[in-house]
Amino acid sequence: MQPRDFGFGEDEKMLRDSVRKFLSDTFPVDKLRQLVAGDHVEAYESKTPPLNYDVNLWKQIVDLGWTALAVPEQAGGVGMKMVAVAAVAEEAGRAALPSPLLPTLVVTCVLREAGSAGANKALERIVGGDAATMAMTNAQGSWLPEDTDVGAADANDGTRLSGTAYFVQDARKVGFFIVAASSAAGVGLYCVDADAPGVTIHPDHIVDLTRDQAHVEFADVVVTPDAVIASPGEGSDALRRATPAMLVIISADLCGAAEWQLQTTAEYARVRSQFDHPLGFFQAVKHPIVNMMIDIDRARSLVYAAACEIDTGEPSAEITARMAKSAAADTAAFASNRSVQLHGGIGFTWECDVHIYFKRQMHNQMLYGDGIYQRAALGALL
């Protein structure tokens, strides 16, 4: 039986509203622009990609407890429902928040599924303020943990990891990685400090200005038994169980950012005049904006439905979560395209904020697989 209200009650609403208020007060869009899109040359042409990161803002976020949201109470967290996590991720997207919040929430969900002693220890570190991210993708960009390029080998001092993980999100902002590494016995998950010996972070030059991404090299990195999150073979199961949550988090971010694109474009259509009418008078402007709204509402509804199914342990959660990601990714693609086009000349300039969201959405769309990818997976589930 699914709760009629997605289990989104007063607590969740209060949390969401407080997150929304904090971000609009502390980190309005002009702050965002200053932080990530100040100088275009520095943004894309510096030898090392810029970090575009406000550590103080992050400290406040940690103090507000957002990163501990999904951490179970026994590990010192708040243990809130997935619908609450979705709401926070949605607000992060609305603010295009440059921070390791999303990857940390994702890691939290993975650790919850792993449920090992090592996982609990890692969860406590997150409560303590550490940011974390997954290192599980191979050079090809496959989202299947089995495909990891990192290998695990037993050694007398623990497990030794060798290889490189690619497309690691916000790699330069985190305290530790959860590394998916494979051995004959299957895929295991290991907790590795970002500054551990043998770890080298190679930043990628990416389009998205609100993130950093890197491929992370593990050269014979030693993992002690207490840092094993999931033993070989159990790692892929934990990741598979966590997949709906990962998809919900990224989809919520997509919906939040798309809502910003919708409201910003609608506002422009209300105030900007052309041919002696406000832009919104023209159906070639009005109807695409309405279609943005329709797509967003469909995707957003699926996000909360999927989150709710995760909370109530419905087996259909994976189906609904993949539907949510497919809908959210396609929504973002359309909203991004129209938000630039309908802003006209100004929308094509660096000074206009829409490109910041446009690029974050491009990144979000592909993360964990785009619409085509999700629908292919759904084909096997329907």
Binding site: Q2, G280, L378
Partner: protein, 401 residues
């Protein structure tokens, strides 16, 4: 995906299931049309009126209306009854315009007397209702109605021409939008109830749809006299009342209103089942990744629509009160249309076979559904008009006219 029921609702759901199980009617001699508004034969009318009366007596109709007007006086029972009728795949309720449009309008705007007089026989399908908004010259521009209502003492005299009036051939009553003054496009409109059957001056002519079927009509009014007691709400309030009517029609588009009928859930299941059993090349249509991608897209839109209806009732997840309700009609009707189009793609060459052909997949329902879908995307405010309304009322953009 069922919602959590209160204990009373759970009991009621149980009652519905049992009752529908025991009272499922034998199918009529000839196949029922897809939708209530397409009913055109006297045989079907009798059959369906008897069925609705039975459902009403069993408490499955008008559950949430006040008991003094013939309702069940409950809360949140109708949705359950509709769900169970849908699940049981029993025939639909014929008085769909009455239940979906007339009843809520009368409840909101009618006098005590009007509520007591009109609602009970409406619920029991003793009296069929139809709706007179659209006119030949007006199309989507409902407010430009030209049908005139001239005050004559305690009476009004109606003259004009309405089109697109489903069920008019069977209807005893019509809710009608008429013009009492030409001074203001909107304030010049007044809303009436007018008799249709055996009424001097009223002529009902069936129109033929592109499907080849009948089901909607044009109705002509020549010096039709009705008492002022049949006016709904004040003179000049016609447009406001009409908005109430259309709002409920949109709500009804959630699929609840029409009772039985495959509905969107059925359509999607049918689509997948069709694809899995339709041979294509050396395998099936479902094995064609491109077709499968399209089907899954439709399934996602359907699931999204269902969840939007659910979210629309969660205050904490709604930004604007009208944002979700106003989307219902355009989303449902375009989804039905696109789903039917994909169904045709799946059937390939067999899509050429129509309802009379015994080799037609699903009895020729896919081409029929595609043709019929345009009735949905055109009637009661075209999809284009719906998008104007959304852009203007929800997003505050300038009127496009």
């Amino acid at each position: 995906m069922a919602k959590k029921d209160t204990p009373e609702q759970a009991d009621f759901r149980e009652h519905c299931r049992r009752w529908l199980d025991e009272n499922r009617p034998a199918p009529p001699r000839t196949r029922l049309p897809e939708l209530a508004i397409e009913v055109s034969s006297e045989e079907h009318r009798e059959y369906l009126c008897a069925w609705q009366r039975k459902c009403y007596e069993a408490g499955l109709v008008a559950c949430d209306y006040p008991s003094e007007y013939g309702g069940g006086g409950h809360d949140g029972f109708q949705r359950i009854a509709n769900q169970e009728m849908g699940r049981a795949q029993v025939p639909f309720l014929i008085n769909v315009i009455g239940l979906g449009m007339a009843a809520p309008t009368i409840l909101h705007h009618g006098t005590e007397e009007q509520k007591r007089n009109y609602l009970p026989p409406l619920f029991a399908a003793d009296e069929i209702w139809c709706q007179g908004f659209s006119e030949p010259g007006a199309g989507s521009d409902l407010a430009s109605a030209k049908t005139s209502a001239v005050r004559d003492g305690d009476n009004w005299i109606l003259n004009g021409h309405k089109v697109w009036t489903s069920l008019a051939t069977f209807a005893k009553w019509m809710i009608i939008l008429a013009r009492h003054s030409n001074e203001d496009k909107y304030k010049g409109l007044t809303y009436f109830i007018t008799p249709v059957a055996d009424t001097p001056g009223v002529t009902v002519r069936p129109l033929i749809k592109i499907t080849g079927g009948t089901g909607f009509n044009e109705v002509l009014f020549e010096d039709v006299v009705i008492p002022d007691a049949m006016r709904l709400d004040d003179v000049g309030k016609g447009w406001t009342v009409a908005m109430t009517t259309l709002l409920h029609e949109r709500g009804a588009a959630e699929g609840a209103g029409s009772g039985g009928g495959a509905g969107i859930e059925g359509r999607i299941d049918g689509l997948i089942e069709l694809a899995k059993k339709t041979p294509r090349g050396r395998a099936t249509a479902w094995d064609d990744a491109v077709l499968r991608d399209r089907i899954v897209q439709i399934a996602i839109r359907a699931a999204g629509l269902r969840q939007m209806a659910r979210r629309g009732r969660v205050e904490g997840l709604v930004d604007h009160p009208m944002r979700l309700p106003l989307q219902g009609k355009v989303l449902m009707t375009e989804l039905m249309q696109d789903a039917a189009a994909v169904g045709l793609e799946i059937t390939g060459a067999h899509g050429s076979l129509y309802v009379q052909d015994e080799r037609a997949p699903h009895g020729g329902d896919w081409p029929l559904a595609y043709l019929n879908s345009f009735g949905m995307t055109i009637a009661a405010g075209t999809s284009e008009i719906q998008r104007n309304i959304l852009g203007e009322r929800v997003l505050g953009m300038a009127k496009s006219k």
